[in-house]
Symmetry: C2
Amino acid sequence: MDIEQTICQMARDAKKAAAVISRCTTTQKNQVLTAMADLLEAKAESIFTENRKDLERAKVAGLSAAMIDRLTVSEQTIASMAGGLREVAAYTDPVGTMDQTQVRPNGLRVARMRIPLGVIGIIYESRPNVTIDAAGLCLKSGNAVILRGGSEAMHSNQALAAIIGQALESAGLPPQAAQVVPTEDRSAINALLAQEEFVDLIIPRGGEGLIRFVVEHSKIPVLKHYKGVCHVFVDESADFAMAEAIALNAKAQRPGVCNAMETLLVHQSVAAEFLPAMARRFAEARVELRGCSRTLAILPDIPAATDADWPAEYLDLILAVKVVDDMDAAMSHIAEYGSSHTEAIVTSDYRRAQRFVREVDASVVLVNASTRFNDGGQLGLGAEMGISTSKLHAFGPMGLEELTTRKFVVLGDGQVRS
Amino acid sequence: MDIEQTICQMARDAKKAAAVISRCTTTQKNQVLTAMADLLEAKAESIFTENRKDLERAKVAGLSAAMIDRLTVSEQTIASMAGGLREVAAYTDPVGTMDQTQVRPNGLRVARMRIPLGVIGIIYESRPNVTIDAAGLCLKSGNAVILRGGSEAMHSNQALAAIIGQALESAGLPPQAAQVVPTEDRSAINALLAQEEFVDLIIPRGGEGLIRFVVEHSKIPVLKHYKGVCHVFVDESADFAMAEAIALNAKAQRPGVCNAMETLLVHQSVAAEFLPAMARRFAEARVELRGCSRTLAILPDIPAATDADWPAEYLDLILAVKVVDDMDAAMSHIAEYGSSHTEAIVTSDYRRAQRFVREVDASVVLVNASTRFNDGGQLGLGAEMGISTSKLHAFGPMGLEELTTRKFVVLGDGQVRS
């Protein structure tokens, strides 16, 4: 079979398996997740062996230290994957729950029932743990999944795929409910993106290049997880101590993630008072600042920001700082440069807090809290598939519920339309 | 400006207008809808004049009587459009409502707030009333809309566009919140499908060809409204009088619509008793039957169904009839030939009703009621944008709420992540 035929067969098998997994009881699905966790721990050595093959090849290919780090499966990676699966097993199963129940005037009883989406395709890059994390969430929500990881993690992902298949079989379920694409050939991605008859959703996880490629070529709906160019706006009525703590946390607590702050906006009337102390705290945390001209007038020692800084997602200990005339100017800046991801205001003013919440276009809008809270666990959803920055279907962190949809259930006793 | 530039400018303007309309009060939006309704009635004559230009051209082009009927704007069309707008004005506005409120252990107050999707592109065929109906629903739900109707309705749609623009301006809102593409050139569709920076959703309404074209070329998420190959399964425990009434209504009450039944499935143990009486009722309603071999053994006078009948969406007084071994066979048939649209069972058996509801994959699943109830009005959603047969975002009838999404609102008092 050529690659297209292989992928088409996988998609066909996945659709059949999806019908089975969609009808499973929660107990059966939890049994699969628990078996996966147990097998990961029991077979850690064989996973390390396969992972070493990937790592050796990566070294020969001259991959960066950061890439090799992401590719490495350690004892800790195993523990974290297994722990994650057991946590997801403990989550409430959304499938089959009903809401918006109503009785129509003609006596029809109408409700909306949560159902799995069907078959989900995940296209990702180097981290092998995504194979396990994504499979766990998809299976718990009753979906079948086709996983296409980075070619550099091929051996590791195949070893993990074997474990998932074994766990499914041990619970009496078809192993085709979670399949890993068994080829490094990039044309497998194109083939997968063309299976609109069998695959219901594609989630690309990775850099902007991957996401653009997927959106460009997919005939299947795509949920995008783009970058986070997140802002904190310090209003003139802000409590300075609170603003300092939030800005520092948003930038420096974990700078390499999408919900870290990339630009600090400061109201002009408090900039001269607020920025010097704030700058000292950033300096202690080794955050490098880049300022607009009004910032430079207050902090003359930092470099000037250029046009490239305002849309930048540094993912690093670098921060652009801009003094703005007022909240309208802050919101205009966010509308122009933000990525609909996470936006925060620090203020004591009721009206401004309300307006910011209503008018700012982002998946998570916060008042007096760090941008770092845009996270499924922090917002009460549990583990997440990522953070959607497109509005359709899911906007913000995607938990189990966001991997389902709803159908209408109508119970009658002979009603017809007149 | 060439077409691409025109469309790009429209999309850019729409995005700006979307920010304004998204913040409107419900009162302002209702004012627009009411003004649209009033203007439609006041300017009916000028709409008829423009519509006549389209009709004359259609006659010269030799369009079918059915096409010309769909294209015609009559007094009744005006009344129905105006009435529809006043009805939508009376609906509850979903924008700004909050749900899933929770307080996190750290005191953060988290909720999900309904917000408009942004800019919606609607691509449709000949009916000019879609211009008004779709604009009304999009504006009420706080979205900007770009409408691209059939080239054969160009004059009518431009006249309606002028009315919508005037209504928006009369309420102090930018007319760019609802724009009609001012060219017949088909390349305008391609240009619109490429505006992923400004347009959030595309809804194609029309035949399978149009929908396939849009899905194939769009870089923007598409909500599909495909065909309805709907079934009624008469179980062995069905009340025959009820089953007859439901099957007759599902097929014959309005055969040309997507929620009409196209295939009747009958349990083998009751086929010999049920089918002759049912066939007489269908004959009275001038429904032409096509049967499987077991049906022909009971109704020898009807023609045999061929392979082409089971997946057919007749949209006409034609019905395929199949005798099945049991409910499993019925559900397998539905899984193979159904279009995820509407499926009904007639049964008195509790367990079978439950299984059918849980296991059948369709946007609306009914027990003991006609398939014709898959309709926004009938299911309590009010007027609808169409019936989505894809699972992402909305599955089934799309009302106002389905034209919105939700963002997270997080209210804190200084929380940071540790």
